[in-house]
Amino acid sequence: MADEAVCIGKAPTSESYLRMDRILQAVKDTGAQAVHPGYGFLSENTTFAAKLKEMGVEFIGPNSESIQAMGDKIESKRIAKKAAVNMIPGYDGVVEDMDHCVKLAKEIGYPVMIKASAGGGGKGMRVAYDEEEARTAFRLCTEEAKSSFGDDRMLIEKFVDNPRHIEVQVLCDRHGNALWLNERECSIQRRNQKVIEEAPSVYLDPGLRKEMGDQAVALAKAVGYDSAGTVEFLVDGKKNFYFLEMNTRLQVEHPITECITGIDIVHQMLRVAKGHTLLHHQSDIPVDGWSFECRVYAEDPFKNFGMPSIGRLSKYIEPAHIPNVRCDSGIQEGSEISIYYDAMICKLVSYGPDRESARETMITALDSYVIKGVTHNIPMLRDIMTEPRFVKGDITTNYLPEVFPDGFKGKQMSEVEMEQLVALACAIHETEQQNSTDFLNQNRLPVVKDAKSQWKMNVEVAGNATYPAMVVKDNNVFEVRVGENTYTVAGDLAFTSPLLDLVVNGQRRLLQFVEKGFGNYYKLRLFGTVFSLRVMDDFAAQLQQFMPEKKEVDLSTVILAPMPGMLKTVVVSVGDQVAEGQEVCVLEAMKMQNSLVAAKVSKVKKVNFKAGDTVNEGDAIVEFE
């Protein structure tokens, strides 16, 4: 963590990280000579850069002119076109009317994207695959744009279907030198936010790499760029690439480029800001090995590939001890993941001489990463790492919805994997049982220990089946027979750490002991996903059939907060009649607004919160009759 920290205000960003005056004051108070603005907040704010300049303090980033030029959608395209960068085919102006739209679409070639000039956040934006769709799309987009932005000017361009998102890192100095530091493949995204990145991309050959790199550098030079930056491209199925935009700051995913090039980008930014020339030449820049970055987020991957979650990190162990693993984070055990900031916990980076070894290292790192107290997306990251399409490198920006059409449902275990989990659970349970009778001071009435070395157990896997197992213990090695197969579980089963490094049938299995509940309940994390299990002896398992089914809460009679956040509005009150699908309230969490709707026609019985209230996940906001 920091050598010296200055408090710049309260948690909400508008009272701290976006308060230029406070940051400038802190700069003054500490006598800082330069400011690195990081990724978000003021990193692309030219006013901030200008104010620093006034104070004689260096802004570690590009000059304001290039920030401004690249920040403007139309201006950046104009400059790019002039620099002979590949552009997405489209019309260079505003679409006049519906007929004009259809004519242009024909010229460009379907599919086309029709989007509002003032648009953003997916509003006023539609894809058309034929003329009829183009007409509908134009009409709807115009209407939406008018109501949302008060500006119905429309643009049209080719829609790149199933593209890859590949970006080129550039590094420039103030002496006219510019380098490209290879590409990063960032196609694994959800809601246009990157989840997993890798460098290099399996899709690029040296020729294409050079072509894209050269264009990126050409653009940087055209705009007079003088720091680290990123030129983003879309690459289609025929390896055509098109300019998307340029990010005039250090990117979150820069570590993977550092890994394969050996260049410390932040170090270079500092040198450039001081006025030094770049130390490298284009011919010095290698593609050396392979690197992955997983963005470990405090979010629930089971909901919409990731809904933000909050909480205190009650237990937190980064896998930084593993060779070739880098963890960039700003938190530690006990830190609070709050609703005020981006939900990212850590950038987990792995490196290896080739893609396969980097991927293996990432899997070990994800399995060894202990995070308790907040819901996190490691289950999904871990699952993607072994998913066949990902393993082959066959990915596009549509990867997540294509691979998980019904949403992410956790690791789908094969029968053998499930049996391994069962075997592990049996070994853990039996160890627990033995500890339970291992009293050190109960000697008045003797403690009679279980003399058996063989047990029948039944492991109930929540949401799955119950697996009968036969457990034999011999010299600290458990032999568990599940179904047709026998599994030997070896390794240290002491619960000194949540991470158990065990061997099942000769294969290493990193098992996390997430929680033990009273009544033989266990939560174990295997292959990234947490499984809820219950271990019972034969007798109890047979009686389980008589136990009443647990009643689920009828979700149609209540609106539960899907995540923690603040209620923006509650539009119903007690006694109101609501229609199915009618908006009941809007919940704002982190960067998103979520509209919560009634599941059926009903009458409002109770409203438990009002606008402005903070709610926790699972809170009943509105109850219906």
Partner: protein
Amino acid sequence: MAALVRFCNRALQQNAVCRQILPLSATHWYSNEAGSMAHTLNVKQRIENTRQKALLGGGQRRIEAQHKKGKLTARERLNVLLDEGSFVEYDMFLEHDCADFGMEKEKYPGDSVVTGRGRINGRTVFIFSQDFTVFGGSLSGAHAKKVCKIMDQAILVGAPVIGLNDSGGARIQEGVESLAGYADIFQRNVMASGVVPQISLIMGPCAGGAVYSPALTDFTFMVKNTSYLFITGPDVVKSVTNEDVTQEELGGAKTHTTTSGVAHKAFEDDIDALLQLRDFFNFLPLSNEDASPVRRCDDPWDREVPGLDTVVPLETTAAYDIKDVVLGIVDNNEFFEIMPDYARNIVVGFARMDGRTVGVVGNQPKVAAGCLDINSSVKGARFVRFCDAFNIPIITFVDVPGFLPGTSQEYGGIIRHGAKLLYAFAEATVPKITVITRKAYGGAYDVMSSKHLRGDVNYAWPTAEVAVMGAKGAVSIIFRGSSNQGEQEAEYVEKFANPFPAAVRGFVDDIIEPRTTRMRINQDLVMLACKKQSNPWKKHANIPL
């Protein structure tokens, strides 16, 4: 052959007894040796038949009815709860002796309760399990006799008693005999109180006078949806007060674990309850003669808990979860909370420290700012007294803004009830370790296991503030009418909102880094294991009830 003859002779000597038992048709057999052999075999057969009958309780049909209700039978429950093969049954042949209303024709061996002893994780426990399939589990003189027998023996050897309650109430046909039976049990409950732990698990109805036996025991647990506890059922309530109320609303698990505070915890179903009870039992010593149990522990005793350094928020008014503190400190994050849904402004429960059972009491800043009120005082007091009675060290986490003001509290007798917690802490002679995490204000500071109430080791975290009251209130009194309140508040905060005033007086022994709390407490517990302290002789003390 010789052995068999000897046995037959003995049978002959006892023929006076046999005559009474054997059916008349058999009497002409034992006049010669062959007849005597047949008789012996006959008796053996009868024993076997009776055992089989006893094992079936009220019969297959009633067992099925019990299962249909989502409940297990008395014997199934015992077998889930106890270590495999450890149950030793008492009085399987005992029958009721009621001869009225045709009862003499309907007898079941063992009557409506199964009693005996067994082991849970290797340790002895005495147990009774009421059998709803026999006369609805109703309490006859015979039933009471069986229960009393195992209770007497439990006290004699010093082992806990667990009751699995599932009974429709008194055996009305027996009249006062049944009432006498209840009273006999009550008397034993009281005698056993503080001698051996007594646990009641309500797994079906428990109504009328019967409720007082669980009420007298140390812990009352319930099964959700299938168990009820009330003095009078909904029908009587309707006829007396004209209230419409369901069984579940009147005396279900939710009512008693959230509203009345009669029950200490509710479980999902029979199996969940019994398996959790096994885990719970492991925390308890067998009797007041035993030390708090120490189990093998893998969790390092000196483990640092870095998360605790930030658990108390920077804003002194912000809430946090005291359970984060508890779970961080105790072995393997295992905390068996007692009354988790009642008076949630205080948290009590069992955990282990380096293997040793401890009782944990903590104010909960997350609920009602962690203030002490009537319910939380009573909840805390009962728990502290249990720990003290059974040699379980008490660890107290203090973050208390004071007692809750207001008419409802004063009219409800907060003075009397608050005094219970004060009394309990003051009288306790077990090792007492206290950690002030943040606020320790006013009389509540004194109450919460302070140095002044014979706290053995009292720590303050750097965030601790020990004072008579918060800054605002204090300044408005000290500087009444002053216009300069802001500045004076700041002065007060500077002076009192830190651990120094208490530390310089020795009211806290040390100011410790939160991350070292587990290590410090474990060191203290080792030292305090040798603690010997006793209160003056008295017949019994007079806690303000």
